[in-house]
């Protein structure tokens, strides 16, 4: 539900009614029942750029709340809200509502999430060292048991948290250790705020925006990392960069990397080894954890570490023994990488020193396939993007500066488009089917190939189609359904559906911004995904260069929204349309009809009915009648022309004009006279029986 201020009732005005004289800034009013205090930040609930503010209910909402105000470039998980709300667990911060408000400090609309203020303080502040040294009994009572219950609920409700970490766990306001409270996970893209420490190796290799939704197995891993942080006394990764942490995890396994020199007792050791297993299919499931909790002992399998080469390969002056590290650095320097790939050094090293014949063959095949376009721009990037997933099962889709997992593609694209960055790497990724190649190279059974492949195949078709309603914009909304409409005309607004769009257009038109009336590429693509019935029948009209069709297409679309949702009148949109309708009136042949239709449309515009305006302009019966009358008029004009031509020719010589007709008439008269005379003479002759003279 959008709590959007009207132009008659500006954001601050509502606040004036219930303003608090002790505060500097007016509170922002949400649904008339909640005051959000923009001058009372709650820093303990902040997550990166997402800021928390105190809020207080007035009537409907009782108690104290905190509100997380989202950033437009970081698409929040609005689609997961209902799943989250269905998880009833006392260790999870209760979500009260989500919505959109006008946020005065930013002078634009913002997505907000309202939670009950029951979290208390963080158990660990951001930054190293990440080691709390809890006793195992404390950890079991305050963290492990509540978290297992939460994870069970997540599984039952098909929900993935994605933000389980020590810095998002709160003490619930208690002075002594009590069961923990788990903080927000909805206000940011999935796992955006997760440090690489809490992410599995494949997800850590992706950029924070491109990690995608993840799975329960990822939450279980994050639970394991959090447990390790709570239990351990030392932080072996404290002074390491993100890249070093990932390399450490790859080289030594996550368990070793995280626990370092700390030693845990038998049962906890098993749990940690089970949930921190780097192979997802070997990682403990929630059922395994429950079995462990019941006291039965499970022995986690050993982690398969990457094979170390018998001899190092030198690349850019550095020696490499492990293939994943080499590949990561090769992708950072693709032009240098191509040299060792094309001269055969790489595949020989893989074959001889790693003794991996299959991988060496993959390299040779990838190079031979790429040789056809080796002069094309970006060849080295494309080659590396194609090659790396074949050799490194943990690698994300990596191309130029992008490091993504397929389900994180949409949000990453949205962020770049909002920040006005060059989207060409995304276009090339989709066009070259790099994501599809990545998916086909996966041997990961947990990957939802059935959902991803059709999506990216559709996107490849959308990219090829440059018409309005398709292109990169369509890919964005297909791959990120939670994204708001990114049209420039809605820069200060958050549009999530067709109804909101038309209401904002009404507002913009009321402010005399008539130009935004017309749907642009983003608006059309957005509607085509969120509400195809209101726009797909008119896509052809919207994409045509013919002005009248384009204008009428816009009107048809907006009228369809008004009709479909039985919406209120939109007088400002209607009046704004009037200015642009001249080319549409011109589509009536009859000038009299044009004036009549214009008059009717202007009357309907006063009432704000786009549906009636459209009916007046696109009435098929009137159009058909106009066309047949036009044809009849054309025939009459042609007949008049022909008559005029012959008449002009005849009138040229006045002396001869119609003389033949005159002669024929006089012949008739003469014949009549002759008949009369002869009849009279014959009558006289036969009556008298004597000569006439």
């Amino acid at each position: 539900m959008v709590d959007r201020p009207s132009t008659d009732d500006p954001p601050g005005k509502a606040g004036e009614k219930i303003q608090n004289p002790g505060r500097k800034a007016l509170p922002v009013i949400y649904k008339k029942d909640l005051e959000i205090y923009q001058d009372t930040p709650l820093k303990q609930y902040d997550t990166g750029p997402i800021k928390a503010y105190a809020a207080r209910g007035t009537e409907k909402f009782e108690g104290n709340f905190f509100v997380l105000v989202c950033e437009p470039s970081l698409i929040p998980r609005t689609g997961s809200t209902s799943h989250y709300a269905n998880v009833r667990n006392s260790s999870l911060v209760p979500l009260v509502d989500k919505g959109v408000v006008y946020w005065p400090p930013a002078a634009q609309e913002r997505q907000i999430f309202i939670y009950r203020d029951v979290l208390g303080q963080k158990i660990l502040e951001d930054g190293p060292p990440a080691a709390l040294g809890w006793r195992p009994e404390e950890a079991m009572a305050c963290f492990i048991r509540p978290m297992i219950e939460i994870l069970q609920d997540f599984r039952n409700r098909d929900f993935v948290h994605g933000s389980i970490r020590a810095t998002n766990i709160y003490d619930g306001g208690a002075l002594k250790k009590t069961p923990i409270m788990l903080g927000d996970c909805l206000s940011l893209p999935p796992s955006w705020a997760q440090p690489v420490l809490y992410e599995t190796i494949p997800r850590a290799l992706a950029s924070s925006i491109g990690r995608g939704q993840g799975s329960l197995a990822d939450d279980i891993y994050a639970f394991g990392v959090t447990l390790a942080v709570l239990l351990r006394v030392n932080d072996p990764l404290a002074k390491m960069s993100d890249e070093e942490i990932i390399r450490c995890k790859i080289e030594h396994s996550s368990y070793i990397a995280l626990t370092g020199k700390d030693r845990f007792k038998g049962s906890l050791l098993e749990l940690l080894r089970g949930v921190l297993h780097d192979q997802e299919n070997e990682r403990w499931t929630i059922d395994d954890i429950m079995i462990w909790l019941d006291g039965r002992r499970l022995s986690p399998k050993q982690v398969t570490r990457p094979k170390k080469a018998s001899r190092a390969l030198t690349f850019m002056g550095r020696k490499y023994f492990f293939l994943p590290f080499l590949l990561a650095d090769m992708q950072a320097e693709p032009s240098e990488a191509v040299k060792i790939l094309e001269n055969g050094e790489m595949d020989q090293w893989i074959q001889r020193c790693l003794e991996n014949e299959e991988a060496a063959e993959e390299v040779r095949l990838a190079i031979s396939h790429s040789m056809t376009d080796n002069k094309a721009p970006g060849y080295e990037h494309k080659l590396m993007a194609r090659l790396r997933p074949l050799l490194d099962e943990n690698a994300p889709v990596q191309y130029k500066n992008l490091r993504l997992r397929p389900d994180g593609f949409g949000r990453a694209l949205a962020q770049d488009l909002i920040q006005k960055k060059d989207p060409s790497p995304f276009i090339e990724l989709v066009r070259e089917s790099t994501v599809l190649s990545w998916i086909s190279a996966r041997r990961d059974k947990n990957l939802d190939v059935g959902a991803l492949v059709p999506k990216f195949e559709s996107c490849r078709n959308f990219i090829r189609n440059t018409k309005i309603g398709f292109g990169l914009e369509r890919c964005l909304y297909e791959l990120c359904p939670e994204a708001h409409c990114l049209s420039d005309k809605f820069t200060n607004y958050l549009v999530h559906n067709a109804e909101e769009m038309i209401r904002i257009l009404e507002k913009l038109c009321k402010e005399n911004k008539a130009k935004p009336l017309f749907l642009d590429r983003h608006s059309v693509a957005f509607l085509s995904v969120v509400d195809p019935k209101t726009i797909d029948p008119f896509l052809h009209d919207l994409g045509t260069p013919e002005k009248y069709k384009y204008i009428l297409g816009n009107l048809k679309c907006l009228a369809a929204i008004q009709k479909r949702y039985d919406m209120e009148p939109f007088p400002s949109i209607s009046k704004a349309f009037i200015e642009f309708l001249a080319p549409v009136y011109e589509r009536f042949h009859d000038r009299v009809m044009q004036q009549k239709v214009k008059k009717d449309v202007e009357q309907f515009a006063e009432t704000g009915s786009l549906i009636k305006m459209l009916n007046a302009l696109a009435n098929s019966e009137i159009i058909s009648r106009d066309y047949s009358s036009f044809q009849a008029a054309g025939a009459e004009y042609a007949f008049l022309l022909s008559e005029e031509k012959s008449l002009t020719r005849e009138l040229q010589d006045r002396n001869t004009f119609a003389r033949a007709t005159g002669r024929r008439i006089s012949a008739g008269i003469a014949i009549a006279i002759a008949i009369i005379v002869i009849s009279f003479v014959s009558f006289a002759f036969f009556v008298n029986k004597a000569p006439l003279f």
Binding site: K547, Y627, G634, F657, G662, A670, I678, L692
Partner: protein
Amino acid sequence: MSNSELQEKSASRKRKKEKSQWQSRAFLIIFALMGAMFMPTTFMLTIGMLPTLMVLYVDRTRGKAQAITVGAMNLAGCSPFLFHLWGQGGGFDRAITLISSPKVIVAIYMAAAIGYLLDWAMSGIISSLLHQKGIMRMTAIQKRKEELLERWGPEITGNIKLDRDGFASVQETGRDEISPE
């Protein structure tokens, strides 16, 4: 048209001409026979209808309307004298007497002259009337054309290339190349 069709057409035309010549010959024979049988009447009509024969020769108009006018009036002029001739037995002598009478010949030729006068006067009057009517029709046509143009635009003139909906095509006007945004 193919060669055989042309040949067939030419043959048909030839047949018609031959038939027409045969008919006129038959008519001449019958006319000559009748003339011989009713010699006095024939003689009188030949002399009396001389103006008609002259006009028939001179009149090049289609339908020979002038000759018909003069001929009808000429025949009307001849009719009292023909009846007079038939009333007195219809002898050849009487026919010569009648036709040689100046009064008779003047009366007959005057009738023919009235026919000529009728033709001249009527064709002039009718021509003048119809000319005026033509001018009025031209004005009406111009006015109607302007009305049609005003209501339906130049598209109805047929001078503009139209699309299937009857509007000037894009190439003609260039108006639709403009984008609204």
